[in-house]
């Protein structure tokens, strides 16, 4: 193509003007791309709302989450109780606000563990290759073949009481749940990091770094890991949603937090036998889970579009 009209203004621009412009960074580019994804922006908005509401709501909202009022049992939504009450007359809005903290915290903490394990396994596997890689990948395959929910149920049931005795009922079950969910979700991250490491290892800049004598550990952490992060960020965001779902599933099966810790799944578990009399009791916590998970999934999709250089369309 000949120098078309589009090139003229660019040529006319002085070198100073170009240099004065703030440099475009990877993250600014990603953010620009992300903003264009309307559903992702919607997700970011809803999720921020949920996080702010659960973080500060319990301070602002006057009703306590475990205030029992037997005269107000199973009442539908009203001005006094915007989302109604449960079978002990406890305010459902207050319980959802409080429970959201636990649900979101479990999601984030479990994913943090999964990403840490996954990155470590993937990095070691991809960096060293050979036998180490073989062994670690077989281990990963083994974990992928494990049915997660049956195992989670098994572990939580067996270890619930001892962990509770050591750390107390709430913290104990939180730690147990986060550890177990996290340690059954690291496999996709490990595979992604390994794949990235395998391809990065062959790049010229790694060869250059090796030539100037960068030691092995520094090579992996400073030069390779940052270049492998994009798919990990996407997987991590989607993993938070999956971990929140997993926690609610366990609580819904009655094997999660104790009843005085009203997580969203636990609220549904308590509500499910009174569906005919108090549908609001189940619908609002269910909607809270749904909206949170949906917005995280949208955000994950937006991140994928923004960070994945080989995306289609």
């Amino acid at each position: 193509m000949a120098a078309g009209p589009g090139f003229a203004p660019a040529a006319a621009r002085t070198a100073e003007a170009v240099l004065a412009r703030p440099p475009r960074t990877l993250w600014a580019d990603a953010w620009r791309q992300f903003r264009r994804h309307r559903l992702a922006m919607f997700g970011l908005f809803v999720l921020s709302f949920m996080v702010v509401a659960t973080a500060f709501g319990p301070f602002v909202y006057p009703v306590g989450f475990n205030e029992i009022d037997m005269t107000q049992r199973l009442k539908p939504p009203s001005p006094a109780h915007p989302l109604g009450t449960d079978d002990l007359g406890q305010d459902i809005l207050a319980r959802i606000l409080f429970g959201g903290r636990v649900s979101i915290a479990v999601g984030l903490a479990a994913m943090f563990i999964a990403v840490t394990i996954g990155t470590a396994v993937g990095a070691v596997s991809g960096y060293f290759g050979g036998t180490v890689d073989q062994v670690l990948m077989r281990l990963t395959d083994l974990f992928i073949a494990l049915p997660p929910l049956p195992l989670l149920l098994l572990v939580i049931y067996l270890f619930r009481d001892p962990v509770r005795n050591v750390f107390g009922p709430e913290l104990g079950i939180f730690l147990l749940m986060v550890t177990v969910i996290g340690s059954l979700r690291w496999m996709p991250v490990a595979r992604l990091v390994r794949a990235s490491f395998l391809s990065i290892k062959e790049k010229e800049f790694i060869e250059a770094a090796r030539c100037i004598g960068v030691p092995g550990f520094r090579m992996a952490v400073v030069h390779m890991l940052p270049n492998a992060l994009s798919p990990v960020i996407v997987a991590a965001s989607l993993g938070v949603a999956a971990a929140i779902l997993q926690e609610s599933t366990l609580s819904f099966l009655g094997l999660g937090f104790p009843p005085d810790m009203p997580t969203w799944g636990r609220l549904l578990f308590d509500a499910k036998d009174r569906l005919d009399m108090a549908p609001h009791w189940a619908i609002f916590p269910g909607l809270a889970i749904f909206l949170t998970v949906l917005s995280i999934n949208f955000i994950g999709d937006g991140l994928r579009d923004a960070l994945d250089p080989r995306k289609v369309s």
Partner: protein
């Protein structure tokens, strides 16, 4: 093909062994003793309890117990339920058909939804139809199965009174009436699972189809004058389904999660609800056997997916 099948079966053995070790270690590390109940019972003398422990090999070191357990497992003997004294194998075989029926029908329906919707979505990318399908798919896999299940009960059983709330296989009717009754009972649990899986699969079918229709061979097919239908279905879809089969295999452990939840909500008498009730009753042999049964099912379905590969993709050689 036979050679390949045998090799795949041999590869499956270490996986199963690994899984059995994981499950066994978890169980052995756990505190708590199935005989603690007996200890609280003053009518059972200490010597009897100790004798029982020794007889059942509870005091052996862990590797001995593992080998014993594995040997009897290989002989098809999974032990007896602590609670009902019934052979565990028998218990699982009683429940398994129901679980497989619900899961299988759900997966078939999920595919019947996902393939056409995904293909249309990809072929008409960015049309209103595609936007609608993509958004619905997002909603579909963000809705937890236990919430969809409760909503279904609320709408179809409580408000509309069309469908029974609880699943039963014990139906006193014959012929078409029997089939209709089965359908009425099974449709909610099946649809809850099918909608979730369908939503997940739709996204993969769409993505894979989008990759394929950009290929040169699709242009070639169009250029030689094939009908659009033949281009999309025979040349596009068949290639697009190959990665989808992998995803389907990887999804299988996830479906078990959904199946356990639906079985619990609709009281479907499958192995999922047996697992939950056994956990509540501390029925260790049953719990262990079911978790292992799930693992075996995952391995078996992965094997089937590998074989389906060959049917879909003639480029794969079995040697």
């Amino acid at each position: 093909m036979t050679k390949y099948l045998i090799r795949r079966l041999i590869i499956a053995v270490p996986t199963l062994l690994g899984i059995s070790v994981v499950i066994f270690v978890i169980l052995s590390l756990a505190p708590g003793d199935p005989f603690s109940e007996l200890a609280l019972n003053p009518n059972v003398p200490v010597e009897v309890r100790e004798n029982l422990r020794r007889q059942l090999g509870m005091d052996d070191p862990i590797h001995v117990r593992y080998v014993k357990w594995l040997t009897s497992l290989l002989q098809g003997n999974l032990g007896y339920s602590f609670v009902s004294r019934v052979d565990v194998t028998q218990l699982i075989w009683q429940r398994l058909p129901t679980t497989l029926f619900v899961m299988g029908s759900a997966y078939v329906i999920a595919l019947l939804i996902a393939v056409p919707v995904g293909v249309i979505s990809a072929v008409r990318q960015y049309s209103w139809l595609d936007n609608l399908a993509t958004t619905l798919a997002f909603i579909g896999f963000s809705l937890p199965t236990f919430f969809t299940g409760l909503i279904f009960i609320l709408v179809f059983s409580i408000y509309l009174r069309w469908l029974p709330m609880v699943f039963t296989t014990n139906i006193q009717a014959t012929g078409p009436a029997w089939f209709l009754e089965i359908l009425r009972h099974a449709i909610m649990p099946i649809m809850v699972l099918a909608l979730f899986e369908g939503a997940v699969l739709t996204r993969y079918v769409r993505a894979s189809m989008l990759d394929v229709i950009r290929m040169d061979y699709i242009n070639v097919a169009r250029a030689k004058g094939l009908s659009e239908r033949a281009v999309i279905i025979r040349h596009g879809l068949r290639n697009a389904l190959i990665p989808v089969v992998t995803i389907m295999a990887l999804q299988i452990p996830g479906i078990f999660t959904g199946a356990i939840v639906t079985e619990q909500i609709f009281r479907v008498p499958g192995i999922g609800s047996l697992l939950i009730s056994s956990i509540q009753l501390k029925d260790t042999p049953v719990v262990m056997a079911i978790v292992f049964a799930y693992a075996v099912l995952v391995v078996v379905f992965n094997l089937i997916a590998d074989l389906a590969y060959g049917v879909l993709d003639p480029r794969i050689r079995y040697d």
